[in-house]
Amino acid sequence: MKPATLSEAEMDAISDWSESSQQLVRELLGKYPDKRSAVMPLLYVSMIENGYVTAEGMKSVAVLTGLTGAQVQSVASFYSMYKREELGKYLVSVCTSISCFLLGADDVLAAIEDETGVPDGETGHDGTFTVEHVECNGACGGAPVVLVNYEMVEGVTAEKARELVKWLRDGGPDVVGTEEMQQLFGGAKSFDWAVREPEGAVLPVPAFAPYGSARGVK
């Protein structure tokens, strides 16, 4: 699948994006038979550029996909991961669906709210944390489950959750990795992970290489 060639208008729409994001845009548009399909990955790229989904970002995505701004907005507002407000450096998501609930997820959420001083659904004043409860994360065998910038930790207790928050606040790691967090703060796992995971997230955007936010962790 060859990267797409961008028209002048399309290049104009993302002229202030980084070169690596511009290259991602070409590659993403080349992956689909219809460029409209790239709207979701492109929204992630716009979040990498702007920190969250901004009006400007949606306009750029509209130009790239041949949609109207209203159409892009209607897509963005449908999904929970396209955040419409500035986020903290760490997006801490606590699963409170049934299996995690049965094993104490509400206590984990309460501990995280208390330790960060940030209530569920909000971002702290200093911009370090956004805290949210989320629905099932597909790790119910390792309940309760917490994600930091979508990197997963399984088998978290309320105490370990507090330690995780302190570690993030005091250490301020630029890259958070699922492997490191699991070793430090995790417990039971849904299944044997078996392999060291070398990659982690640098932003509250899923760290998936085609969107450019994955980085190596030490």
Binding site: M1, K31, Y32, P33, D34, R36, S37, A38, V39, M40, P41, L43, Y44, T65, S74, V75, F78, Y79, S80, M81, Y82, S93, T96, S97, I98, S99, F101, L102, L103, V134, E135, C136, N137, G138, A139, C140, G141, G142, A143, L147, Y150, E151, M152, T178, A188, S190, F191, D192, W193, A194, V195, E197, E199, A201, P206, A207, F208, A209, P210, A214
Partner: protein, 432 residues
């Protein structure tokens, strides 16, 4: 008998690499497929009797048979895995991604598809990284791309990440999402096999379903069909979670009893506590209770006959300490949050149910709320049968009624006690 997890168990640390995959027979099914031809591959899948592992348990070979002749056609792998209790696809994606990729190539070849998509839920970056890496390796080795292994067959695979929405697991919502739209289910017919992605014929299959295809082609559909009971052929991955000593994914041959599954495989209930109830097939399924169901067999049809479903293979176990009102609320809240809002009974009904539960949990419940829970549920799913009568575009709305009906059927006294005292029965018992 292990099919899906054999490699990852035998080769713990490198089952996800192409080197290990090739060294353990990987991509030899593909060579065989190219030798026997697309019709023969389809025939093997039909003969296997494998039923889809995404939730609806529909026979894969039959679905493939519905694919309309127009081209291009597409294959879309459903890796949206979001049904509470379910975490099996994540293991397959992370630990044996090439098994899926080989299944995708074989299935695409059989179906006459030249572009396949793997739609992975947005909260799964690690599985997505592993799958993308496997896809890149497969391109580099000539298992994807142009003229695969000199067969003349071309296939591109796009790995797509979702944006966080349970409803995108429903296949027509998934296709809308993949087209860059809101993930709202489509009115059927037309079914995706006739008008799917970009209005072209499309097959949507679950990760686990397609991960079985290499084994089926290598060993023959008849060999697969001979594993387990006739109408629940093959092995399947069961995700065990909740109050259970050994949570995890277990590849089992269907047909064992729930007692075997919960007590032998799952190691029983922590602290030797009593089993109170379990959900046999993901949070959408009506609950089972020990007095009635513990010695019944865990097969697709037995569970259907008893008014529930094996769904996505997720078993959620609740012990005697469980506050069933709070548990049912938690499941109802999920559906209320995830309703896409297109159908009034689902949008309004799930919100209403959630509100009534909130009252009950806050100690502000009224006796009339108990009938109201039933009335509202009946408004979403008239008759409250299972499988549900459908007044909505998709089964999400009716799914929200399963926990309500279940607690009314088996634990009505606890719900009533909740209204009277405002205190969960499980807590009262603990306080003596």
């Amino acid at each position: 008998m292990k099919i899906l997890t054999e490699r990852m168990e035998a080769h713990r640390t490198d089952s996800h690499t192409i080197e290990r995959y090739e060294a353990t027979g990987g991509y030899s099914a593909l060579r065989k497929g190219f030798e026997i031809g697309p019709e023969a591959v389809t025939a093997e899948v039909k003969a296997s009797n494998i039923r889809g592992r995404g939730g609806a348990n529909f026979p894969a070979g039959v679905k493939w048979g519905f694919l309309a002749p127009a081209r291009p056609a597409y294959l879309v792998i459903n890796a949206d895995e979001s049904e509470p209790g379910t975490f099996k696809d994540r293991q397959l994606l992370e630990r044996d991604p090439h098994q899926l990729v080989e299944g995708v190539v074989l299935s695409s070849y059989a179906l006459g598809v030249n572009h396949a998509f793997i739609y992975i839920r947005g909260e799964y970056p690690k599985p997505a990284r592993r799958v993308q890496h496997a896809v890149d390796e497969a391109y580099a080795k000539g298992y994807l791309g142009k003229d695969i292994l000199g067969s003349g067959f071309d296939l591109d695979v796009t790995v797509h990440l979702g944006g966080g929405a349970y409803i995108c697991g429903e296949e027509s919502a998934l296709l809308n999402s993949l087209e860059g739209r809101r993930g709202e289910p489509r009115i059927k017919p037309p079914f995706p096999a006739v008008e799917g992605l970009y209005s072209k014929p499309t097959i949507v299959n679950n990760v686990e379903t397609i991960s079985n295809v290499p084994w089926i082609v290598s060993n023959g559909g008849i060999a697969y069909a001979s594993i387990g009971p006739d109408t629940s052929a093959g092995t399947r991955l069961i995700s065990l979670s909740g109050h259970i000593n050994k949570p995890g994914n277990y590849e089992i041959v269907m047909g064992m009893t729930w007692r075997d599954l919960i007590y032998d495989i799952g190691g029983g209930i922590p602290g030797g506590r009593e089993l109170k109830a379990w959900i046999p097939g993901g949070s959408s399924a009506p609950w089972f209770v020990p007095a009635e169901h513990l010695d019944t067999p865990a097969t697709i049809d037995d569970v259907n006959d008893l008014g529930s479903m094996m769904g996505s293979g997720a078993v959620i176990v609740m012990d005697e300490t469980t506050d069933v009102v709070a548990a049912a609320h938690r499941i109802v809240r999920f559906y209320s949050h995830e309703s896409c809002g297109q159908c009034t009974p689902c949008r309004e009904g799930t919100t209403w149910l959630e509100r009534i539960f909130n009252r009950l949990l806050n100690g502000q419940g009224r006796m009339a709320d108990i009938d109201l829970l039933i009335d509202v549920s009946d408004g979403i799913s008239p008759g409250l049968t299972w499988p549900p009568a459908m007044t909505t575009i998709c089964p999400l709305g009716p799914s929200a009624t399963a926990p309500v009906v279940s607690i009314m059927k088996y634990f009505r006294d606890e719900v009533e006690a909740r209204v009277v005292s405002g205190i969960p029965v499980a807590l009262e018992a603990a306080d003596g």
